[in-house]
């Protein structure tokens, strides 16, 4: 189609939470197949879907426009002051309306981010920090209008349309003129929509007349809420869920029909044939809006140089690394190797302009050290420990090793740089830092404080409609009996198709009858449609973004439920697309447990072992691992792991590294587990055994894992070896697999993969087999370096469990919740291994578990319903008052009522 006659400039994705019913990616692909050449996404008060939409649209051949529909508090009556004859109910001093803002320039984008940030600023200001709806004071537009085009908003709640529909001609006229006063003539357009509701045609005629009267152009928009008519049913239901009403009771809130869906440009032009000026207007306006979020964000890596003014980041990093290197490697062959590796890495880092990024991470580790000193008691064995450790692919980097980001020597461990840094790196490398929980809490706050509210925020995560939530919320909207819904919710696990849910319903008592009712059938269909849609904005477990330019001009930032924290509106994928420096601060329960264990050992034995010197070759530890005697050990304690340990019989750290990565969703669904176990057996019987490869080209990359794909980077290496992908292309493949529902992107990757492999004379059936395995593996595996870091922690926990079983048990219980097993199972397992557990005692128990002559004394915290607070107060009281045998009887305990009962 040469010139589509219409451009859609007003559309909501599911990131208009509980309103839009389609993913941005679905919107983009539907737009392409319907023949759109340009399209805008305008979610309510947010840009969470904007980056995903921009990339998906660009990939599908649709030019994306960025925008948002903002909720503004506007006072239509302040000028006239005639509060007496207000038509809008109880004469509010101001009311809430919508306006649509579209980005024209980079300045406009920055302004839109600021406006959305302001709109959300007070959403957590109540005493309980419960989220309230965002709203922008109308006056705030004045300072941040530049580069934005303002549309009058949707037919129902748009500023001008709503006033006009309420019969307030004069106020609508005035509102329109006030918008022109702010945005300037030519930057305000009146939206003409056709929602197919009663009175909407007259409203459109009235709006066009008003626009002509004031001298403002008109633009047709679709106010799209779904990419396909099928989703309109879900849209109805989401509106009910949002309003906490049933479908039956929410007629007034719902749209009333299924007309607000994405349509072909021709179709829209035909439906709005009585407003040809507005239809033409969509083309004229779209042509002006040339800001491209995939290209024009204007983000630069921060050039953080701490303490050396005038020095470039490149210099500072190189100097620090060289200095550390001479310290850590004695003169000789290893130092030479290390120097070569360092030069290679520094060269790549300079090439990508990433020096500031590494310095930033070093700074953060520095802050972590300070936080750790503050939260760890003086004299504790933990004070000497590093406050965190790196994992992920960063562990393969010598720069990370030298700057303290990782504790694994990549030269000694033979770790590859591979995915972490390469010539055609498309996105910033990931550095994950694991911290004990207490350090992490303080660190997040401190980073936001140190870099400032405008420069640092947590990365967002978007919980999707999971099975149970979908059943409960959609079931309630459908007014199905609460008890039945609850039963179904508890039954259901792990299905995703409507047929599967129908089967579950059929299995309920009277299931067949239920399935004859439309409501029950609707539940199955709606739950399947809702699967994968974002439900609300939440915070990523530990990702943070820090920016030298104000972050609030790159992405809107909103307050978090947790005091002192704030979240940017993008998830990790969007942050990666933006090229943001993302820092992962993960809280790891086992790190806390190991630290606590060292403290307990120091208390009971006088000094704690130095874990960095224990070596990784204790036969007694491996004997237990090979016996699957691993309950409580990091990463290798699940039933699946235990079963596999019996077969694979790990003998060293490398085996553990594979083991940790093997029992993961990726290798499991990529069909890697059984072949690996079989090949490993064969190799043990015959050290000369050569595992079969799908193709000889794969031998070099799959040799260390006996012919199967176990590690994340092997997906990349396989695509490079078999299909001749460049590292950048391989990275594209990984990303295509990580994006949900992006069929088209996968199809394109498959074609490139097939063509590349055919070019190397690989037979078609082999290409197919290998690609299927890669897709099965998808994105659900560990990088090797990440596994290596986890393997170290697995070994250390196994070592502590073997040599200090009582302290280890106490530490595990104190670090709950963590791991796979409840405390009772851990206690039973320890008893089997000769560790006695003593009951809680009001006279001697501390708050948490302690070690008493080689036995574990349970802490007061373990007493059901007592709670932490009460346990702390009991111990404090006992310490000040002294111990008396009669104490608990004659003296009222300083506890009001068990905290759970309150």
């Amino acid at each position: 189609m040469a010139n589509p006659p219409y451009v859609e400039l007003h559309a909501h994705s599911a990131f208009s939470f509980l309103d839009g019913a389609s993913l941005p990616e679905e919107m983009a692909e539907a737009a392409a197949s319907l023949g759109h050449g340009v399209m805008a996404l305008t979610d309510h008060d947010g840009l969470s879907g904007a980056m995903g939409f921009a990339h998906a649209a660009t990939a599908a051949g649709v030019r994306p426009i960025t925008g948002a529909e903002l909720t503004v508090a506007y006072s239509p009556f302040s000028r006239t002051g005639r509060m007496g004859d207000c038509p809008l109910g109880d004469c509010p001093p101001f009311a809430v309306f919508h306006i649509t803002l579209l980005v024209e320039t980079a300045r406009g984008y920055a302004n839109l981010c600021r406006l959305i940030t302001i709109a959300h600023a007070k959403t957590r200001s109540g005493p309980d920090r419960r989220a309230i709806a965002p709203v922008l004071p109308f006056e705030a537009l004045q300072a941040h209008h530049e580069g934005l085009v303002c549309l009058s908003g949707c037919a129902r709640k748009g500023l001008v349309p709503a006033l006009l529909a309420a019969g307030r001609q004069a106020e609508a006229d005035q509102a329109l003129r006030r918008l022109i006063g702010i945005f300037g003539p030519g930057n305000v357009w009146v939206e003409i929509q056709r929602p197919g509701a009663r009175g909407s045609k007259a409203l459109a005629r009235g709006l066009e007349a008003l626009a002509n009267h004031v001298g403002v152009p008109v633009v047709a928009t679709g106010n799209v809420h779904a990419h396909h008519p099928r989703r309109a049913f879900l849209q109805d239901t989401l509106v009910s869920v949002r309003n906490r009403l049933t479908l039956d009771a929410s007629e007034a809130e719902r749209r009333g029909n299924r007309q607000s869906v994405l349509r072909a440009p021709d179709d829209m032009a035909r439906r709005l044939a009585d407003h040809p000026e507005a239809v033409r207007g969509s083309l004229v306006l779209a042509d002006r809006l040339r800001f491209d979020l995939t290209r024009d964000l204007g983000y630069r890596f921060p050039d953080f140089v701490a303490g050396h003014p005038g020095e470039t980041a490149d210099h500072a990093l190189a100097r620090d690394c060289r200095h550390a290197l001479l310290d850590r490697y004695a003169e000789g062959e290893r130092r030479h190797q290390a120097l070569c590796r360092l030069d290679e890495e520094l060269d790549l880092i300079r090439h990508h302009g990433l020096s500031g990024f590494f310095l930033l991470h070093r700074d953060i580790l520095e802050i972590a050290r300070e936080v750790a000193l503050a939260v760890r008691p003086v004299g504790s064995a933990r004070r000497a420990l590093p406050p965190g450790r790196g994992r992920g692919s960063s562990v393969g980097s010598i720069v990370c090793y030298l700057t303290g980001l990782s504790h694994i020597d990549p030269i000694e461990s033979g770790l590859f740089l591979g995915r972490f840094l390469n010539r055609d790196l498309r996105s910033v490398p990931d550095i994950d830092l694991d911290f004990p929980r207490d350090v992490r809490e303080g660190l997040i706050k401190e980073i936001i404080r140190r870099y400032g509210n405008e420069h640092a925020a947590l990365v967002a995560a978007f919980p999707t409609f999971r099975v149970r939530m979908a059943i409960r919320e959609l079931g309630a909207a459908l007014a199905l009996p609460a008890a039945d819904i609850e039963r179904l919710a508890l039954l259901s696990d792990g299905w995703s198709s409507p047929e599967a849910l129908e089967d579950e319903i059929r299995r309920m008592p009277g299931g067949e009858d239920r399935l004859r009712s439309r409501r029950w059938r609707a539940l199955a269909a709606l739950a399947a449609e809702a699967a994968g849609l974002p439900r609300h904005l939440s915070q990523h477990p530990g990702g943070m973004v820090v920016s030298a330019t104000p972050l609030v001009e790159l992405v809107p930032v909103v307050p978090a439920a947790f005091p002192g924290r704030q979240i940017c509106q993008w998830d990790k994928d969007s942050c990666a697309d933006a090229g943001f420096v993302k820092i992962d601060l993960l809280g790891l329960g086992m790190l806390s447990a190991v630290e606590e264990c060292l403290d307990l050992i120091a208390t009971s034995r006088g000094r704690a072992p130095d874990l960095s010197r224990i070596g990784f070759d204790d036969p007694a530890v491996y004997a237990e691992i090979q016996n699957a005697d691993t309950m409580g050990v990091f990463q290798i304690e699940s039933r699946a792991q235990m079963q596999s340990l019996l077969a694979t019989q790990p003998e060293n750290l490398h085996d553990l590294t594979v083991q940790v990565a093997l029992i993961r969703p990726g290798p499991v669904s990529g069909g890697a587990v059984h072949p690996y176990v079989a090949h490993r057996r064969a190799r043990r019987r015959d050290p000369e055994f050569v595992p079969p490869y799908d193709h000889p080209l794969l031998a070099p990359v799959l040799e260390e894992t006996l012919g199967v794909v176990v590690f994340q980077e092997q997906v990349l290496e396989v695509s490079m070896a078999l299909a001749g992908f460049t590292p950048g292309e391989a990275e594209d493949l990984r990303r295509a697999m990580s994006r949900k529902r992006s069929r088209d992107a996968m199809l394109r990757m498959w074609q490139r993969f097939r063509d590349g492999a055919r070019h190397r004379d690989v037979p078609d059936d082999v290409i197919h087999t290998v690609f299927t395995k890669l897709v099965g593996f998808a994105n659900f595996g560990f990088p090797k370096a990440h596994s290596a870091a986890f393997a170290v922690l697995a070994y250390q926990s196994a070592w502590l469990r073997r040599h200090h079983p009582a302290e280890f048990l106490a530490a595990l219980i104190n670090s709950q919740p963590m791991g796979f097993y409840p405390p009772a199972s851990l206690v039973r397992d320890a008893a089997r291994r000769g560790v006695r557990t003593l009951r809680t005692c009001i006279h001697v128990s501390q708050v948490g578990c302690t070690v008493e002559d080689g036995s574990v004394r349970l802490g007061l915290r373990m007493v059901r319903h007592l709670g932490d607070d009460a346990a702390h107060r009991l111990v404090a009281e006992r310490e000040t008052m002294g111990i008396s045998p009669a104490w608990p009887i004659w003296r009222p305990a300083p506890v009001c009522a068990p905290s759970r009962w309150r």
Partner: protein, 93 residues
């Protein structure tokens, strides 16, 4: 804070078929009503004042999918008629 005014929709006619009775309507080729038979007489539609679509109650055993026409019949009598998606015309009043 008050919600935005929402008078734009008017009330939605969703009260089932109560108050509506089958009507005979002659349509133009584009599907819009051309004339309505009333009291055995054929009355031309002189104006369509508004049309809208109601799609609702799809989760019940009585789903609704109708196109409404607010028309004026000669010689100037307003009538509200609708066409069911399943077929058949009805008139209010």
């Amino acid at each position: 804070m008050e919600q935005a005014p929402r008078a734009a929709m008017g009330t939605r006619a969703l009260r089932g078929l109560a108050g509506a009775h089958p009507a005979e309507v002659i349509t133009s080729p584009d599907g819009t009503p051309h004339a309505v038979l009333r009291d055995g007489r054929r009355r031309l539609v002189v104006a369509v004042r508004d049309t809208w679509r109601v799609q609702d109650r799809w989760w019940t055993d009585t789903p609704v999918d109708r196109t409404y026409f607010d028309v004026v019949l000669e010689p100037g009598r307003p009538v509200l008629i609708f066409r069911e998606i399943e077929g058949g015309w009805f008139a209010h009043g």
